[in-house]
């Protein structure tokens, strides 16, 4: 391959990327600001909140529990060397609220709900369900995409909160019930050091940003995918990869800005 060919390929890739970014931006504007015409919008939203949010609850609770338990175990082993194992509650809570709660929830959400959204929408496209909806005079952006997007925005921050709560309980189980840290110090150290705005609110802001990005990527990849079996499989992979990278990258930027 000659140098010119390589430059051409690079240019083509750059143009394709820019075009995809443009399409995804227009797509988002159309979904968010398009006028809804359907009386049953709430029913559609509730159905999606169940599919996207409630159905992700099990993986979030189990992961939160284990991550909280591991944090307490690791933290205890390090802190006990300095005789400050009383601070394990504070460490578990801060780590979960500031970082692991929003980030791990977003990664799990991308794998559990994001991939499902992409595959579902992609398959609807491949089986011409989206086309037939258009021909019935119903905009799939409003009828199919919008409820799924809003369901993701709403449910992921809630899931992140559940994750943190369960993680803190898991930490208490290991530190207090198993390793014998005094429960008064576990909880009171946590209460003294965790600030509502600094820690809880900032964590929640992160979760909202991640929810937005992950769901946007998932529904756009489904809607924009090539309507074949390989196309859907590639789009599903892209959802998980792009969403995970976006979450980790944004997490660094947000952390730099917040703390």
């Amino acid at each position: 391959m000659s140098l010119v060919d390589r430059v051409v390929l690079l240019g083509r890739a750059g143009l394709d990327t820019l075009a995809a970014l443009g399409r995804s931006g227009l797509f988002l504007v159309n979904v968010l600001f398009g006028r809804a015409r359907f009386g049953n919008g709430w029913t559609l939203l509730v159905k999606q909140l169940h599919a996207v949010g409630v159905m992700s609850l099990a993986i979030i609770v189990v992961s939160g529990l284990f991550i909280g338990m591991v944090l307490a175990l690791q933290g205890y082993n390090i802190l006990v060397g300095y005789g400050s194992e009383q601070a394990v509650g504070q460490m578990v809570a801060l780590t979960l609220l500031r970082e692991l709660g929003p980030v791990v929830t977003a990664l799990l959400f991308a794998g559990r709900a994001g991939s499902a959204l992409t595959a579902e929408i992609g398959l609807m496209k491949a089986t011409e369900q989206l086309s037939s909806m258009e021909m019935i005079g119903v905009d799939p952006l409003k009828y199919v995409i919008a409820p799924r997007l809003w369901a993701g925005f709403i449910s992921m921050p809630l899931l992140a909160m559940v994750f943190c709560v369960v993680g803190i309980w898991g930490g208490a189980m290991v530190a207090v019930d198993w390793l014998g840290v005094y429960s008064g110090s576990y909880w009171s150290n946590m209460q003294n050091s965790v600030e509502f705005t600094e820690d809880v609110l900032n964590g929640l802001i992160k979760a909202v940003v991640f929810a937005f990005v992950v769901t946007w990527i998932a529904v756009f990849q489904g809607y924009d995918c090539e309507p074949t079996s390989e196309g859907i499989s590639r789009a599903t992979t892209r959802t998980v990869v792009y969403a995970s990278l976006a979450v980790l990258g944004l997490d660094f930027i947000l952390t730099a800005l917040m703390f």
């Binding site: 359907f38 369900q129 037939s132 021909m135 019935i136 009828y143």
Partner: protein, 272 residues
């Protein structure tokens, strides 16, 4: 039939490209109101593209598409969705919503576009399902239906809002003789009973010719010929004759363009 209002759809000077490939090159097609018009041609010649252009799921590179006095490519998103309520389209796969049962699939357009009370929606849905002979299948899910039944349910859904224009995308593909006969009869019957205009895109010659009032044969980005089925059957144009008689070789060659056969065989792998 020279008055413009005699035609429900008029495509004027349509050019449509896909990448560098020209699908339609300055094509004019007019669909007479109240008739069944067949669009025929070999596979891959852009017949389905034509329906998607009329339904504005694709936009032409140049030219205008008039449907009932509106230039479809120039409509805004909202106007377009309003215009589509007067069109019905039967997709090749049926394209039923897999999460809804037969009844809800047919009720879908009524629920989103009308404020009719539930008992009236029920009556209309049963009426449409009766017309396609599937009133008894209303509680089934799409994956419990055969291919022919799916298409009939999709047909009932497409006519739920009593459209003025019905478009059929390859309605006969992959159907057994009985379902094929049922569909052929239904298309003609619905067209006449409901006062529709129907466009049937197909390469199934006998079936389409048996119900169409007027036929277009398209290929190579052009309209190769048009007329009543009898006129086309007796056409002198070799391209049309080859298509209508189903001859394997003719102006459309049997072989995909390739280099000389003997040379190709004599070449060693290294040369190739």
């Amino acid at each position: 039939m020279n008055d413009a209002s005699d035609y429900i759809v008029e495509l004027k000077n349509i050019t449509f490209r896909r990448g560098s490939r020209v699908i339609f090159d300055n094509v004019d097609i007019r669909i007479p109101r109240g008739k069944v018009t067949g669009i025929m041609g070999p596979s891959g010649c852009g017949k389905t593209t034509l329906l998607r252009l009329i339904g504005a799921q694709l936009r032409p590179d140049s030219g205008s598409i008039w449907v009932d006095g509106q230039n479809i490519p120039e409509l805004g998103r909202e106007q377009l969705f309003a215009a589509r309520q007067h069109m019905g389209m039967l997709f090749q796969s049926g394209a039923l919503f897999t999460d809804l049962d037969v009844f809800e699939n047919v009720a879908f357009p009524l629920r989103v576009h009308t404020d009719l009370p539930e008992d009236m929606i029920r009556d209309i849905v049963l009426l449409k399902l009766e017309a396609v002979g599937l009133r008894g299948a209303r509680a089934l899910m799409p994956d419990e239906l055969s291919g022919g039944m799916k298409r009939r349910v999709a047909l009932a859904r497409a006519i739920a809002l009593d459209p003025a224009l019905m478009m059929y995308d390859e309605p006969f593909v992959g159907q057994d003789p009985i379902s094929m006969g049922v569909l052929v009869r239904l298309i003609r019957l619905l067209n006449d009973a409901m006062g529709l205009t129907s466009i049937v895109v197909s390469h199934d010659l006998a079936e389409t010719a048996s119900i169409a009032d007027y036929l277009y044969v398209v290929g190579d980005g052009q309209v190769l010929g048009q007329g009543t089925p009898e006129e086309l059957m007796n056409s002198d144009n070799p391209r049309i004759r080859q298509f209508m008689q189903g001859e394997p070789d003719g102006p459309v060659p049997f072989h995909y363009p390739a280099q000389n056969y003997v040379q190709d065989l004599m070449q060693t792998e290294k040369d190739a």
